[in-house]
């Protein structure tokens, strides 16, 4: 039994998700190798090699893998996954894009977004926006699994795995990279932040959404948003927390002006401590909040900022 993990990286930096996926792979048992594909990946490979519990870091460095487009990435993985029993990646936008393509090319199903491992072939995952937890067993020769990173603690960085370059170059005539418009959010990343301050429709406008900034800066928090706030244009899409956005589990989640639709709760209800600030005392968010404060958020937020 052995696992290949697709490593996620951006702008020459290793994504935090990989250390969590390795933790899931170690729970399976067996050897763990990482695959780093891209153009100019030496620094990412070196950082990946420091993660604990890794046997080897395989690199595929070529212009065709730049931007990690799904078509060439899937073809590459198909070419090097034969020796493995498991293929894992984070259930991030990149993992969600690439992994099912690999699974289909290999003629096997995928289990998405696992939150626990019962046995090397048996996994738990949320369904129906987290209203139910399914346990599935996978009897395919290659088990393709995407991992909810917030459900597995990151491994440490004291390793020194071997780095080995693969000489595999694939064709890509299907897709071309045009451009990125990456949001410039200051502060920590949503997926790895210890504290998240998240805003909803109750904020009323994109100007008001900046009310969150003061508290977020004081707490070193990442900013999040409900779908309603993103749809209304108060916040950018990459901030959306929920069933179809990001799933987070910080130590502290402060929901501001968020009513608490089940689709939003699906993305944050595993946070350690939840605070809800809302004018409507009937808002469902209070039902799951450890500390609810009913009040006008335009008074509460400045007051909170001044007391932190």
């Amino acid at each position: 039994m052995s696992t290949l993990i697709l490593v996620e990286h951006r702008d020459g930096a290793l994504a935090a998700s990989t250390a969590h996926v390795i933790a899931a792979a170690r729970a399976l048992g067996g050897e763990v190798d990482l695959l780093v594909a891209g153009e100019g990946v030496d620094a990412v490979a070196a950082a990946a090699a420091r993660l604990d519990g890794v046997r080897a870091v395989l690199t595929a460095d070529h212009a065709v893998y730049a931007h990690q487009l799904a078509e060439p990435m899937a073809a590459l993985i198909v070419a090097c996954v034969d020796d493995y029993s498991h293929l894992l990646a984070a259930a991030s936008s990149s993992g969600k894009d690439i992994l099912p393509r690999v699974a289909a090319l290999k003629g096997v199903p995928q289990i998405s977004d696992i939150i626990a491992i019962e046995a090397p072939d048996t996994f738990k995952r949320p369904i129906y926006a987290g209203s139910a937890i399914a346990t599935l067993s996978n009897h395919a020769p290659l088990k393709v699994v995407s991992v909810r990173t917030s459900a597995f603690d990151a491994v440490a960085e004291t390793g020194s795995a071997e780095i080995r370059a693969l000489d595999i170059v694939v064709d890509n005539t299907l897709s071309t990279f045009v451009g990125d418009e990456l949001a410039t959010n200051s502060g920590p990343e949503l997926g790895s932040a210890r504290v998240i301050v998240s805003g909803g429709r109750g904020l009323g406008s994109s100007e008001n959404f900046q009310l969150l900034d003061g508290v977020a800066v004081k707490l070193g928090a990442a900013i999040g948003a409900s779908r309603a706030a993103v749809d209304a244009g108060y916040a950018s899409n990459d901030l959306q927390v929920g069933q179809t956005g990001k799933v987070v589990a910080p130590d502290l989640y402060i929901a501001v002006g968020i009513s608490g639709a089940i689709q939003h709760l699906a993305g944050m209800k595993d946070s350690k401590v939840i605070v809800a600030i809302n004018q409507d005392e009937e808002a469902p968010i209070f039902g799951i909040a450890d500390y609810g404060l009913v009040g006008d958020l335009f008074e509460v937020m400045p007051a909170l900022e001044s007391r932190l």
């Binding site: 139910a132 450890d290 609810g292 404060l293």
Partner: protein
């Protein structure tokens, strides 16, 4: 250009799902069902492509129980030209659905396939990517904007860091994200007219699917409920509790 859109019958997004007492699955008896919201966005995008003169014909396809024809009728009322229903009372995994869709793609030869990025029941987010793989097409997943020309589609995708734009050679598979469009509602006269539009319904046994037995649903449980509901009276009390009781500040 012919556009193929996928339509899945799922639990209505407002309905809270129940788990069966024997933990064999969720209980959907007498539950309100609807078109998967991401499929509504797929249908809407196809309609807009037709209104712009890019699409010439819209074919809606659903794989599922007989009752899935209700959702196909909705797609027809919204403006799809015809529908294909592959009837299967058994639950299929995403790979099997993609394999059936690949058959339909081979028959219909669409210039573009638009599917929802995920269904709100299984939350898998797999079928579009798998269909693209099986048909050798490029994939534009989690789309928030499409621009179709004769040779290619430019698709802007919602990704973790923000937005990414790709150009895909046609034919291609697109999966919809929330911000692609706001779906319209069907008008009553169109609902009446849709009753006359054709649905080509066939059994799953007619498509030559080699079903796999790789995935088995072992059990379904209700997650542990979160204990919440306590309130604080002031910002001062909140900060005090966060510092001294929860110890997160």
């Amino acid at each position: 250009m012919k556009v193929l859109v996928g339509v899945k019958r799922v639990i209505d997004y407002n309905v809270k799902v129940r788990v069966r007492p024997d933990q064999s699955d969720v209980d959907l008896t007498n539950t309100k069902m609807a078109m998967n919201p991401f499929c509504e966005i797929a249908v809407e995008e196809a309609l807009r492509l037709k209104e712009r003169g890019v699409a010439s014909e819209i074919v809606a396809v659903s794989i599922g129980p007989k009752a899935a024809q209700e959702q196909l009728r909705t797609a027809l009322a919204l403006g799809a030209d015809r529908a294909i229903h592959i009837e299967s009372e058994e639950r299929l995994d995403s790979l099997e659905v993609a394999q059936v869709l690949a058959r339909i793609v081979a028959e219909e030869q669409p210039g573009l396939v638009i599917l929802g990025k995920q269904a709100i029941d299984s939350d898998n987010n797999q079928t579009g990517q798998m269909l693209a793989a099986l048909t050798g097409m490029g994939q534009g997943t989690f789309a928030s904007r499409l621009e179709v020309t004769d040779e290619e589609v430019q698709v802007t995708r919602e990704v973790d860091g923000g937005l990414r734009t790709l150009a895909l050679r046609l034919p291609a598979v697109i999966t919809t994200d929330l911000r692609l469009n706001e779906p319209r509602h069907a008008r009553l006269p169109d609902i009446m007219k849709a009753k006359k539009k054709p649905i080509d319904s066939r059994g799953i046994d007619t498509v030559g699917l080699a079903a796999n037995d790789y995935l088995r649903l072992e059990r379904v449980e209700t997650p542990a409920a979160r204990q919440g509901g306590s309130k604080v009276a002031s910002v001062d009390e909140l900060v005090d509790k966060l510092k001294h009781e929860a110890k997160v500040l």
